[in-house]
Symmetry: C2
Amino acid sequence: MPRQITAFSNPLVKSVRLLREKRHRREQKRFLAEGLRILTEAMDAGRIPETIFFAAESAAHPLVRRLVAAVEGRGGEAVETTRDILHKLSGKDNPQTVLGVYAEFALPLAALDRASAPIWLVAQSLRDPGNLGTILRTGDAVGAGGLILIDECVDPFSVEAVRASMGALFTQTIATAAWPDFIAWLRSGPGQLVGMSLDTDHDYQGPRYAAPTFLLVGNEAQGLPPAYAAECDLLVKMPMLGRADSLNAAVAMAVMAYEVLNQRRHA
Amino acid sequence: MPRQITAFSNPLVKSVRLLREKRHRREQKRFLAEGLRILTEAMDAGRIPETIFFAAESAAHPLVRRLVAAVEGRGGEAVETTRDILHKLSGKDNPQTVLGVYAEFALPLAALDRASAPIWLVAQSLRDPGNLGTILRTGDAVGAGGLILIDECVDPFSVEAVRASMGALFTQTIATAAWPDFIAWLRSGPGQLVGMSLDTDHDYQGPRYAAPTFLLVGNEAQGLPPAYAAECDLLVKMPMLGRADSLNAAVAMAVMAYEVLNQRRHA
């Protein structure tokens, strides 16, 4: 049976609200996701929240009932609450009708099975949560094994990144690593590391990519550090006919990932 | 000679600050862009601000001096000011050292020369300024003729869209139109209208695209309205292997635009 919370001062409300801050996500090892569509996609990918909040007026919605049953079936807690409290929890003027609290699930590199997928996405010092979420969606679409975050990236469990991923966060494996550890792990098995760089003349459609292909994009403003670029098996670049001479990092990753996918499906 | 402004109450500061709001941009027919890199790229594309604000400590920077000379050479005004006022104008905690006020330059469709480029990008009811700016960067990279905005899109001259475009706003032609006017204009000359849709089985790599190709992407949440999709010459879709079954709108546009560009350069 869902319990009802209508008081802002409720300790659970207070603790969940703190999850909008990175420090508290790290301490609690939990994060927030909102929206019926995203929570349902997460459930379909096997990710059930530990706690679910839903607006009283949406209690009868069939998807809300499925979510509540799944949460309670796993020993989690379902909380019926008010729009005002959902607004307070989500920080949005127009809050979604459901909000879930999930255990974080970033893995160490050693837990990845590189043979499980032909494409892996790797981002270094990515700063923008929208870009991170967008890259997760692309990873889902191209059948990537997951996203490996190198050095200090934006938090993939931030509210903004979760939103931008539109549920793909839950279908993708996420690992974090410092660069030397990533390179040591990468070289301990098969895999081709392909860096996207403006400092190369190699057209991205030139090479035939070998599986598993690790596609590496650098920081939005700086690109890849030269020392990192030097450790790639290949550096490639999309043709750029314009004056600005750069692409958004998530766009470059997607154009590259579709090239690799297209080579595979036409081979 | 630059004039100096150090008072928040200065009328010019007040009026420029209002440009962060859409209503005032429309009234004044002006918008803001910030940052030495973006203002320099704009200048190289022939776009000179009517007014430029720069921090006193960057007055000696060669690019700032070039910008100031260009503005004054066109009869515009250069204003040396404080970091605090730049912060107030830009709304950023860490303001750029230069900020320009530009005349808006969106065109009616009739002013476009469709034969001037083989690819045109078209977005309908796009809501996210980051997506709009990202699409402008992609348009610059693939040599698009410009971006046509259909129905109620986010303002391309909003501070967020200008930022996300990384200067590409100034290299791209922008036009706005309601859908019936766009279709009437499109059908008055050559051009293939290709819509991206989830409701089709046509793989985006199947067709050979005809120039000029007009690539159409719909609203982030709803996609294209069925009635609009029905007026396209082709509907196509990228393969999606995952569970989420959608791509970010700016990513879909980029993957599609590179397909068209690749067909042209390998033909």
